[in-house]
């Protein structure tokens, strides 16, 4: 039977198996991303506000979240009963944002056009109806038609006032506080130093003069803040819940006032973008269950950047020594095995090491040598972004070493010989020929390290990551970069919001949104690295004949 085709069943099966496995992987990844996207992105979309009348005569104004079967019902011919989860808001009145309501209890439901959601600075959302606007106790407007146009205008004014107040408090007052703290430390430093009496008096006087200046500035700013604050709360809005309970709250404390049922698609879309923007750029409120997550994004990106700065030279130099200089012996082989095993050490172990070595030993020593005036309050002797990045650098250095070694090994010997044969030394060859050619491999290692570092949470919890950081590690106060400061992190934020939050129902969609954002951050950093790598690959393509 010449030329007859041989049946290759196993080959076909293997092809299908490989393709199927890949498809399954893709499906899982897409499923994960899809879940995060749908849950996370729907968080910003305003749901309609339903007015529910219950059998006991009570009225509830809320957003319907989900419907589920009541367990234990629907047996023995009984009708299956369902209940709905409703976001009722008004945490200050009822104690909780969410309620389960049996559908059997609902007598009537409607969507009144004037029903409003007020996003407040404190106590979460308020659901109810706007009745009256007052200024200094005098009525400005009464009734829906009069209140809303004025309210919208007032809200815009108040937002500006809020920004101005925040700029005063965080900006000017923060600067003065920072200066006062430095003066306090300088004073204490002076008392620790041994100086001639005249010199000591001279310096102490200079310090107290400066202190007096700063305190005067503090008093004037504080007075301005008090003044602005009283103007800020001058206008109040009288609101009424569905049950007829009236509350009066300052307009300044309301972030947004929305009538969801009268919003329309364009209005809803605008609101969506505004909320998403606030989520990305704002500061967290209400123990992280509201507001934005900007400090966490900033902390994550900055920590990963710092880590790359530490890990890149460290890992590359180590790999260069291992591959280019060290003579292949037992010791080198042992080192290589050790490096590879380092990659398998549980990350929390690195965290403990970072705490013991970086924080307590290195940080403690730095404190004793350079910041004795602040003790017993630690400066560097406590967790901070510097120690966290160093710990992560340690965690990811094996990845970089292994990838760099591979990259160096892939540079053909003939490229090195070409340089050496022109009289270049080994170092010149390494610097001008080998390293550029190995750069794509090195960057692949960096990409892996970045991804690993951005997703790592456990070791950071003990070396400087916190639930709520009072200030960013970068600000306008000299020296601008505060590496000793604690920081927030998206990964920890997910854990904190999802599992440590007092208000789990409100926090749940935030977990998805934050996870989506974390993935986006990792993806973005990888994308940058990949683009750089591709550029280098084109530039230094080593040709194979």
């Amino acid at each position: 039977m010449p030329l007859r085709r041989r049946s290759d069943l196993v080959g076909h099966l293997m092809t299908w198996l490989c393709a199927g496995t890949l498809a399954l992987n893709l499906l899982l990844i897409l499923g994960l991303l899809g879940l995060l996207a749908s849950e996370g992105l729907s968080y910003f979309w305003q749901k309609p506000l339903w007015l529910l009348e219950l059998t006991d005569g009570k009225k509830i104004l809320g957003e319907l979240y989900e419907t589920e079967d009541i367990p234990q019902s629907g047996r023995a011919g009984e009708e299956q009963k369902t209940r709905v989860r409703v976001k009722v808001g008004n945490r200050d009145l009822s104690g909780s944002d969410f309620r389960w309501i049996d559908e059997a209890q609902i007598v009537a439901r409607s969507r009144p056009a004037d029903a409003a959601v007020l996003e407040r600075l404190e106590w979460g959302n308020f659901h109810g109806f706007a009745r009256e606007l007052r200024a200094h106790g005098q009525t400005l407007a009464r009734g829906e038609d009069a209140v809303w146009p004025l309210l919208d205008k007032l809200l815009r004014e108040k937002a500006k006032e809020r920004d101005a107040l925040e700029a005063l408090e965080k900006g000017e007052l923060g600067r003065i506080n920072y200066a006062l703290e430095r003066l306090r430390l300088a004073e204490r430093k002076l008392s620790l130093e041994t100086l001639p009496d005249a010199e000591r008096t001279r310096r102490a006087e200079a310090l107290s003069r400066e202190q007096a200046e700063q305190q005067a500035a503090y008093a004037s700013v504080a007075a301005r803040i008090r003044e602005k604050r009283s103007a800020f709360v001058a206008e109040t809005l009288v609101v009424e819940t569905a049950d007829g309970v009236q509350r009066e709250l300052p307009v300044g404390y309301v972030m947004r006032a929305i009538r969801p049922n009268a919003l329309g698609f364009a209005g809803a879309a605008k609101l969506y973008l505004s909320r998403a923007g606030e989520f990305i750029s704002g500061e967290p409120r209400e123990s992280n269950t509201e507001g934005g997550i900007f400090p966490a994004i900033f902390g994550t990106v900055m920590m990963v950047l710092l880590m790359s700065i530490f890990v890149a030279p460290f890992g590359v130099i180590a790999a260069v020594y291992l591959r280019e200089y060290a003579k292949g012996g037992v010791l080198v082989r042992l080192v290589r095995i050790a490096v590879n095993n380092l990659a398998g050490v549980p990350s929390i172990v690195f965290g403990v090491f970072g705490l013991g070595f970086f924080v307590y030993l290195v940080g403690g020593t730095i404190d004793q040598l350079f910041y004795p005036e602040a003790l017993p309050t630690p400066t560097f002797g406590t967790g901070g972004i510097l120690w966290a990045s160093l710990t992560l650098a340690l965690l990811t250095v094996p990845v970089v070493i292994v990838a760099t070694e591979e990259g160096l090994a892939a540079v053909p010997q003939i490229a090195r010989e070409g340089s050496l044969a022109l009289g270049a030394t080994q170092f010149e060859t390494l610097w001008r020929v080998v390293l550029p050619a190995a750069a794509p491999g090195i960057l692949t290692g960096m990409i892996l390290a970045l991804a690993r570092a951005a997703g790592e949470v456990a070791p950071l919890m003990i070396v400087g990551m916190v639930k709520l950081a009072p200030a960013l590690p970068v600000d306008g106060n000299f020296p601008y970069l505060h590496l000793e400061r604690k920081f927030m992190h998206l990964g920890f934020h997910i854990y904190d919001v999802g599992f440590q939050s007092p208000n789990v129902d409100a926090a749940k969609p935030l977990v998805f949104a934050t996870a989506l954002l974390l993935i986006a951050v990792v993806l973005a950093s990888n994308l940058v690295a990949i683009l750089v790598r591709n550029h280098l690959r084109e530039k230094y393509a080593t040709r194979s004949i």
């Binding site: 003939i414 090195r416 040709r543």
Partner: protein
């Protein structure tokens, strides 16, 4: 000889006749004396003694694995890169031992350039490839570099083909152009000797002819040593030819004489194609 591998012993048995006669050159540029080289315990070069004349083309021929490339790489000490290599005997450059303790390897390689079997331009522009050696040796002035680059590219008969694409990647050139670029790169630092390790083995006949023509031009200024497994090429281009077999120098003499009247039977067998 203290240690002999089984292979080397085989060589010993095979070559029972006397030492090959070698031409005596007046002022040899390079000279080896009883040069032996081991890869670990394998003898690769066995007591080779020869002298390379100035401004001539000397060809090393022989079947694969005969040690001709190994010998060539002794001249610019490129064998140093291999840890297990051990060398005995003498190798002199203008009478100075190349393996002496005070010798700077990079200076040796700057004066004895090399062109490889596979063209290996750096993944840089054409200009930077030629300028590389000069930059290494401290030339930084752009105008001087440009002058050297042009002179070298003209010297390698490549200038007219690449003068408009000096800033493009050298990897975009054809195989023959790349090999001539490597020659330009080598002559840019003005060496005295250029070692060519099978420079045409990856090239087509036209590119090969260009390189051979170039070699004839280069020998006015440089001493050329070329390794080739192509006997016709050796016969065409070289002034002297050395035939190596299994690590030994079998015969060395003027090309015209060696190809017409070989004195050793093995040489005759090889050049007549009876083995190879």
């Amino acid at each position: 000889m203290t240690r002999l591998s089984p292979k080397a012993v085989g060589v010993e048995i095979l070559m029972d006749d006397a030492e090959a006669p070698a031409p005596r050159v007046d002022k040899p540029v390079l000279a080896t004396e009883q040069l032996s080289l081991w890869y670990g315990s394998t003898l690769a070069l066995d007591a080779i003694t020869l002298e390379i004349p100035e401004k001539k083309i000397t060809a090393f021929i022989g079947p694969s694995g005969c040690g001709k490339s190994t010998l060539l790489r002794c001249f610019n000490r490129l064998n140093d890169l291999i840890d297990v290599v051990r060398i005995e005997g003498a190798l002199r450059f203008h009478g100075v031992s190349l393996y002496g303790p005070e010798v700077d390897v990079s200076q040796v390689r700057a004066r004895i350039g090399m062109v490889f079997q596979k063209s290996n331009p750096f993944p840089k522009s054409v200009f930077e490839n030629v300028a590389y050696g000069c930059r290494i040796h401290g030339v930084t002035r752009r105008s001087l570099l440009a002058e050297i680059v042009e002179r070298s590219l003209r010297g390698a008969a490549l200038w007219d083909e690449v003068k408009d694409r000096l800033d493009e990647s050298a990897l975009g050139l054809s195989g023959g152009q790349q090999q001539r670029l490597c020659i330009a790169r080598a002559i840019a630092i003005e060496p005295e000797v250029i070692l060519l390790d099978e420079p045409c083995s990856a090239l087509d006949p036209i590119a090969t002819a260009k390189i051979e023509e170039l070699m004839q031009e280069l020998k006015d200024r440089y001493t050329l040593v070329v390794v080739t497994h192509n006997m016709q090429q050796a016969a065409r281009v070289s002034d002297y030819t050395a035939f190596l077999y299994l690590g030994r120098l079998i015969e060395y003499g003027e090309t015209a004489r060696l190809f017409v009247k070989p004195q050793k039977k093995q040489t005759e067998d090889y050049i007549t194609g009876r083995f190879g």
